[in-house]
């Protein structure tokens, strides 16, 4: 016994080979939950490296139910709002309004965001001013399987919804990875800049967040089900900005909506299926979210009524005939994609790829086919692990311009950049400070963090993993007056980009996060020294919002770069190669 122990110990010190043959029998039987126990103690790097071990392990590692237990990279809830100290806002009690069936609004003061967000399954953005806050559901807390789709807002007339009014000047991006896959579309701000507050409705159920912008109609697509459906918003709550579209992906579901209209509800059964799920979760919902069963019943009744109504007067069919002959969502999804890729020389190559449906979980990319001839949008669904996707915001379908997002050669990294509003479309421009950057880590996202730095001298970010503030950004010196700064999460690192006032320098840092210390390393060399890193830089011409929008996704191969290395383009969303 003692001899055996000594031998094995020696073997362990040398590596693990020593005992492997004997261990085989026992270990082969290790149940999944024990494997997860063990994996949960690994660093993120080891963990993700071991997705290579086997399909079974990859499935375990990427399972959202397990992910919350695993090492997080720079996970956290990141909220960036242009005005006011972030921290103050996050720690302030929330002002939330809820609305009952009579349309009466009741203010609710809730716990501060920081604590509320992961405790109650809600993520809320506090109001900056006196206006009501934004509240949104973080679905994964409930059961680890969040999803998100559009509300048919017809239903909102009779049911209790949380109403969200967003300050026009706001623009933000949030992500609460530890809690699950979550991203909040933050377009409201830019959408509303010149107009008025735009109502957004959230339905809070046991498992998902539903929200609706005020479209006349909306289309949604559930990747998990492989089906799309459309909603006709009969009560036009919103402003009917027909050009607006948005999309969201939650969990393995990609939901997107086409604001172009012309599509009516085709798959009511899908909705009803969901309602059935909701009903099943009724008790749970009640307990967790304070949604009364009455409300849920009401909601179901409403849906039933709506179906009958549609059946009765043939409205669906009627509307459909009126629709413009645009391809259906499904057709688009199943059509081969037109994708452009770009090499280092800045040359674009069109690629015709497999249809979205199949491509999306096979290759880890999700691509939306172009509606017109414009290049497609490609986006990454990080869930390498077949089918279990996560958050990827996608540019709106149906926008006049789609954002060609490059898939750089030799990498599997792609990014989606939000469109830029332009005023001649009748939409407010982004205010100078409301620059947005989005990106995602192909590996670690659902933990996809992108957020903005605006012209605030100090920023702190909060990590939902630790519940602490992990970064105080106040050290950007000195001579460089920062016009804009962005952070983008790539390759397991958080990148910062700063462009100096003179336009002459570009400073980048990255966050290294290991299990021991999460520190910010401000080091140009460190990043530029590593050619494999992809860096997403987004510069929005701050004082020429109409004119310039430059996005770059390029390998950094030099030890230094200046801003002038990145040609400024006059069209939104052109890609600049490595000039």
């Amino acid at each position: 016994m003692d001899n055996t122990t000594a031998d094995s110990t020696a073997a362990l010190h040398l590596g693990m080979e020593g005992g492997s043959r004997h261990a085989a029998a026992a270990v082969a039987a290790l149940p999944d939950d024990l494997i997860v126990e063990i994996l949960a103690r690994l660093s993120a790097k080891s963990l993700y490296r071991f997705t290579c071990v086997s399909r079974a392990w990859r499935a375990l590692i990427s399972d959202p139910a397990n992910r919350r237990r695993f090492a997080q990279t720079l996970s956290g809830l990141f909220v960036s709002l242009p005005d006011g100290p972030l921290r103050e806002m996050m720690e302030a009690p929330l002002k939330i309004k809820t609305c009952n069936d009579e349309g009466e609004w009741t203010p609710v003061v809730s716990e501060p965001l920081m604590y509320k967000s992961w405790q109650l399954g809600f993520l809320a953005l506090p109001a900056i001013s006196d206006s009501p806050s934004v509240i949104a559901h973080v679905p994964a807390i409930a059961d680890g399987k969040g999803s998100n789709r559009m509300i048919p807002s017809v239903l909102t007339q009779q049911t209790e919804w949380v109403r969200v009014d967003v300050i026009p000047s706001n623009s933000y991006t949030t992500s609460a990875p530890l809690a699950g896959d979550w991203i909040l579309e933050q377009d409201f701000g830019s959408e509303l800049g010149a107009v008025e507050i735009h109502p957004t409705l959230f339905e809070v159920t046991g498992e998902c967040l539903l929200y609706s912008l005020g479209f006349e109609r909306s289309d949604s697509y559930l990747a998990r089900l492989g089906r799309g459906f459309s909603n006709l918003n009969q009560n036009q709550l919103g402003l009917g900005c027909g050009h607006h579209g948005s999309s969201e992906a939650f969990g393995s579901d990609l939901d997107f909506v086409d604001g172009h209209g012309g599509r009516v509800m085709e798959n009511m059964d899908l909705l009803f299926a969901r309602v059935g799920e909701i009903a099943q979760n009724q008790e749970k919902s009640e307990a967790q979210f304070g949604v009364s069963s009455k409300v849920i019943e009401q909601m179901m009744q409403d849906q039933q009524r709506m179906l009958k109504m549609i059946e009765a007067n043939g409205k669906a069919g009627h509307r459909r005939q009126e629709s413009p002959p645009s391809p259906t969502l499904r057709e688009m999804v199943e059509a081969p994609l037109k994708i452009k890729t770009c090499n280092d020389e800045g040359e674009w190559t069109p690629v015709v790829s497999e249809p979205l449906m199949y491509k999306s979980w096979q290759l880890g990319f999700l691509a939306l086919p172009a509606i017109s001839d414009s290049p497609s949008v490609i986006a990454h669904i990080p869930a390498i692990a077949g089918g279990k996707g996560s958050v990827t915001p996608l540019p709106a379908l149906g926008l006049p311009r789609l954002a060609p997002v490059p898939a750089p050669p030799g990498t599997a990294v792609a990014a989606v950049l939000r469109r830029v509003q332009s005023s001649h479309q009748g939409v407010a421009c982004l205010a100078p400070t409301e620059t947005q950057t989005r990106g995602f880590d192909p590996v670690v996202s659902p933990e996809f963090h992108v957020f903005q730095l605006v012209q605030e001298p100090n920023y702190e970010l909060s990590s939902s993993e630790t519940g602490r503030w992990v970064f105080k950004e106040g050290d950007w010196s000195g001579n460089d007056m920062r016009l804009t700064g962005h952070m983008t999460y790539f390759n397991g690192f958080l990148h910062f980009c700063i462009i100096s006032n003179s336009g002459q320098s570009c400073r980048v840092s990255r966050v290294r996060h290991d299990a021991i210390a999460r520190r910010i390393l401000l080091s140009v060399e460190e990043l530029f020294g590593r050619s494999l890193f992809q860096l997403l830089l987004l510069k929005l011409g701050l004082f020429q919002p109409l004119l310039t929008s430059t996005s770059l996704l390029l390998p950094l191969r030099r030890r230094s770069a200046t801003f002038t290395d990145f040609p400024l383009l006059t069209t939104p969303w052109e890609l600049a190669g490595d000039a």
Binding site: T5, S8, A11, S20, A23, S46, Y48, R49, S54, A412
Partner: protein, 186 residues
């Protein structure tokens, strides 16, 4: 350990006579008997605690068919030697499934305890701890295994865990590309 085992077997006969004992006798899958303090067993193992409370402890040796003698010996060893320094299983049991806080580091003696184990023994012990609901022991053993996994290649892991590589070469390459950052050397 030999002593413990011998003692366990020797005591088997006379233990039957003793009515009110402060120990429980556990029987491994291969029929060996081990004795462990009732208090420690109840405190460290939610399963044994339940059995003791439910009166399903067999004085002639409670059958633990899932656990081999070597693993059970280690379990008993762990209980007997270190019972006093460990908080109640009940207190930490809730931390296992939903905890997202950092894991508690093993204490020094716990490190030593698992360090001396052979590979087989360690993996057996993980299973035993899991079966018996010994959260802390599970914690310590999992920690040890995860430590051993650090810096290992997927190949090495496969070997150790006896896992067949069911990826194609192309798939592996794809993953490696996607997860490039995870394959960088530090």
């Amino acid at each position: 350990m030999e002593v413990d085992k011998g003692k366990g077997e020797a005591e088997e006969t006379r233990k039957v006579a003793e009515a009110d004992r402060d120990t429980v006798t556990l029987k491994s899958s291969d029929g060996k008997l081990f004795e462990v303090s009732k208090e420690a067993a109840a405190r460290l193992s939610t399963v044994l605690a339940g059995m003791i409370a439910g009166g399903s402890i067999d004085d002639n040796g409670t059958d633990l068919k899932q656990i081999g003698s070597e693993a059970l010996e280690n379990v008993v060893d762990y209980c007997n030697k270190h019972a006093n320094s460990i908080p109640s299983a009940a207190l930490i049991s809730s931390s296992i499934s939903f905890n997202t806080a950092p894991f508690k580091e093993p204490e020094e003696w716990e490190r030593k305890f698992v360090d001396r184990l052979s590979h087989d023994a360690l993996f057996d012990l993980v299973e035993a701890a899991n079966f018996l609901g010994m959260e802390r022991l599970l914690d310590v053993t999992c920690h040890k295994i995860s430590e051993m996994m650090k810096g290992k290649s997927p190949d090495q892991i496969r070997e150790v865990f006896n896992i067949k590589n069911d990826y194609t070469k192309e798939e592996l390459e794809e993953i490696r590309q996607e997860l490039a950052w995870a394959f960088y050397d530090d």
